[in-house]
Symmetry: C2
Subunit: 472 residues, 2 copies
């Protein structure tokens, strides 16, 4: 067996791992990057990028469908070429994956180890059965994988997850999407707009990252105008019949609905890849999901022996499973792992204002922690409907609702939730204002052009401003 | 003749005038609003709103045309129904105008005077020949009108301006747009995308509000992939033949081009409506365009006698002819006119960070004063091309260039110019950062989601940050 002695070992070459490796090297440590599976990030392979590509095709189809409302008529048939749609998705996806691979290839071979890493103790990893790595600190960046409930496993190849959907050569006819989280909503609406019969079914009523019940109601109503979204579907039975799957569930009026689908797409969440890396041979404290406990500001894990030499970043830590957060966590972990190895202090890194976007239409946006992060009695609310918002109406995108929250004590803006046109952009404007600690009054002193969707934000902020004043 | 004695008289019931009137009343003054023409703002009648409606139809047509690149095929003909396009434009425009009219109607009749106001002296106006208004202060908010050069006037009804174009019942076959300013670019591209043969012709090379030559070159190249944009067209002759107009001009290779059009759309600028309001009977100082000189921070005009009781706001002042600036100027003028009438001090009002957007595709955006406001040797530049920007490429909108400017002394962000996808949103994010006085390093600490166009902004800011550091 080969032996390697090094300052920092990074386990996993995804977004967080690559960031950690580069940050550790830049901070002056020696480091190795260990990858057991395919190179390429979750984001590029099966996440952000291919889903946005599928959505772009879906929006193109949708735009053709509604052009007549502007006076642009299609005299003929709109034909969605599933092969061509999926070919572009895969071609562009492969291009994005290629960038990641090139980034990996730029790392000297001596600093990369291929194989599955398993802990021997807090300072030692064994990679497959060929290499033993002894190091001063370790970054766990093993990512996550899509999971589906055991009860669906009997569906065999009729059951897929978002990790496989982008490998389709063609579009199926009917898909039941289980789980109206971010992935389920995005893929569900996109498939619907591409001519697939879709039902998005959930349990418990959750809709994406929304916690404000009024925003959730608006989202449900808006999406249900287009396709079936039942966040609390009360599924009685899921059963395979030949090539298809029958789902029996309670309908709206209490009756029973049975629908047949070609596929069940389980969008029921992702689980950190930490089950088979030998955490039981470390001194780490694990949470109730067997994920190492850690301090998000430093990414340092908690050891029963006190100071831990192990950091965790990205989806593996199950903290905020978003690309830009994974990159931040990776950087923080890499710097701190290097500092620890070199006898320097472990420090809190930069964490940014929270932002979460679902690329549906209208989009969903959450800024800060959304409503769920607010303490009752400490905040006021302002809102705007986009039904009559000028710019949204011009574009025939006048659907949605934005709610903004302000702190009663300081009159600062503290968060927002929305289902809104251009939410990806509005969320940035609001998240920057949040991180800047702006008061609502200061935000109202900022420029708003005309006619823009941002004028809707101003309406909501004016409402919030008035509501804050009545409490003073 | 009726006589009215009042604190504040506001001349003109457009965006600036209405804002001034309401602000003066709110500040405790008595006031009258005098309007000589139709009620309804430039923005709603002939400006922002109808142009954006026409553009929305054009984008719908364009989206149909490019859907096949996503795998969505139209088996048949795309038919642009000019009647339906223009009907929606006018219907929605009338709705927006209706909101303005309702705002006017909510003002008590005793506070409104219909007729053309003309100065008698600094404190007196005569409205038509029926009312004499004596007041302590006056706000000039008479707006502007589209003009065309005298040399085009022989074209008769083949010559139109943007003040008339939205009254078309149908779309013409071919239009020469004279003047590649904001209006010319927006209408030119929109008409082109709606199937009208278009040439946008200018003199001197100006393109919209762009002052950075690289951004201008990018805009020219990008738009010329779609339609003829010749910012320095060297027109030799414009002549009417029957129902059409022939334009003879120099072609690219020095040869001569003659093209025939149904209309010449003069988008050669707007002129303040101050020529026939009797300014010669006031003590005001006029600039070289016969517009009263004024202080933009207070909107107070300059009198040869010292302190002037006259304020000016909106297009009439020819300062920044944009709706949101007109509204700000109106408010400032109204408050200060009221303060002056009530013996209170005239104060600077809130002016916001500069922002200018052209709703072409890609859009044009200028933040702060753009490059033209920078002092040579005081700033560094960062840039990003959108050719390979991830989100832009996903959406097949990967065209454009963004340049950001930073102050060498303070490392603060000081402005930007761009031709870019989603520029209307990027410009807001950047303008807010500018008004907040953020350094480039602070901006890079803000959240950037993935995958979004804003990541392109980050690339440009990183470039700027590096360039600022090399100068330190």
């Amino acid at each position: 067996m080969n032996t390697v002695e090094i300052d920092v070992a990074v386990v996993g070459a995804g977004t967080a791992g690559l960031a950690a490796f580069h940050a550790a090297r830049k901070a002056g440590a020696s480091a190795v990057l260990i990858e057991g599976g395919e190179y390429g990030t979750t984001c590029a392979r099966v996440g952000c990028m291919p889903s946005k590509l599928l959505i772009a095709a879906a929006e193109a189809a949708h735009a053709v469908g509604r052009a007549s409302e502007f006076g642009v008529h299609v005299d003929g048939r709109v034909r969605i070429d599933g092969h061509a749609v999926m070919a572009r998705v895969r071609r562009e996806r492969d291009r994005f994956v290629g960038f990641v691979l090139r980034d990996v290839e730029d790392i000297p071979e001596a600093e990369r180890i291929g194989g599955h890493a398993c802990f021997v103790d807090d300072h030692t990893l064994e990679v497959d059965e060929h290499t033993r790595v002894t190091c001063k600190s370790i970054v766990i960046a093993t990512g996550s994988h899509a999971v589906c409930p055991d009860s669906y496993k009997s569906l065999g190849d009729c059951l897929i997850t978002s990790d496989e959907v982008f490998d389709w050569d063609d579009l199926p006819k009917a898909v039941a999407v289980i789980g109206p989280g971010i992935v389920g909503l995005e893929l569900g609406q996109a498939l619907h707009r591409l001519g697939v019969r879709v039902a998005v079914l959930g349990r418990g009523g959750r809709v994406g990252p929304i916690s404000d019940p009024e925003i959730r109601a608006c989202a449900c109503e808006t999406f249900n105008e287009e396709f079936t979204l039942a966040p609390d579907a009360r599924i009685a039975d899921v059963r395979r019949y030949g090539d298809r799957v029958a789902i029996r569930r309670a309908g709206k009026d209490g009756s029973e609905v049975v629908e047949y689908f070609d596929y069940v797409l389980a969008a029921t969440g992702r689980v950190p890849n930490v089950a088979d890396i030998g955490l039981d041979r470390t001194t780490l404290t694990l949470d109730d999901k067997s994920v190492p406990s850690f301090d998000p500001s430093t990414t340092r894990t908690v050891s029963v022996n006190g100071a831990s030499p192990i950091f965790i970043a990205g989806d593996a830590g199950n903290y905020i499973p978003l690309l830009h957060e994974a990159a931040d966590e990776g950087r923080i972990a890499g710097v701190n792992a290097a500092h620890l190895a070199r006898g320097m202090p472990v420090m809190p890194g930069l964490r940014r204002a929270g932002i979460n976007v679902v690329f549906t239409d209208p989009q969903i946006g959450v800024v800060g922690g959304g409503l769920r992060a607010m303490k009752p009695g400490t905040f006021a609310t302002g809102e705007v409907s986009f039904e009559d918002q000028g710019r949204a109406r011009i574009l025939l995108r006048n659907k949605g609702l934005l709610k903004v929250y302000g702190d009663l004590a300081t009159a600062r803006f503290v968060g927002a939730e929305m289902v809104a046109p251009a939410a990806e952009h509005l969320a940035h404007l609001l998240a920057w204002a949040l991180q800047n600690g702006m008061t609502v009054a200061q935000m109202l002193e900022m420029p708003f052009y005309h006619p823009v969707i941002e004028e809707g934000v101003r309406t909501a902020l004016r409402d919030l401003d008035a509501n804050l004043r009545t409490w003073v």
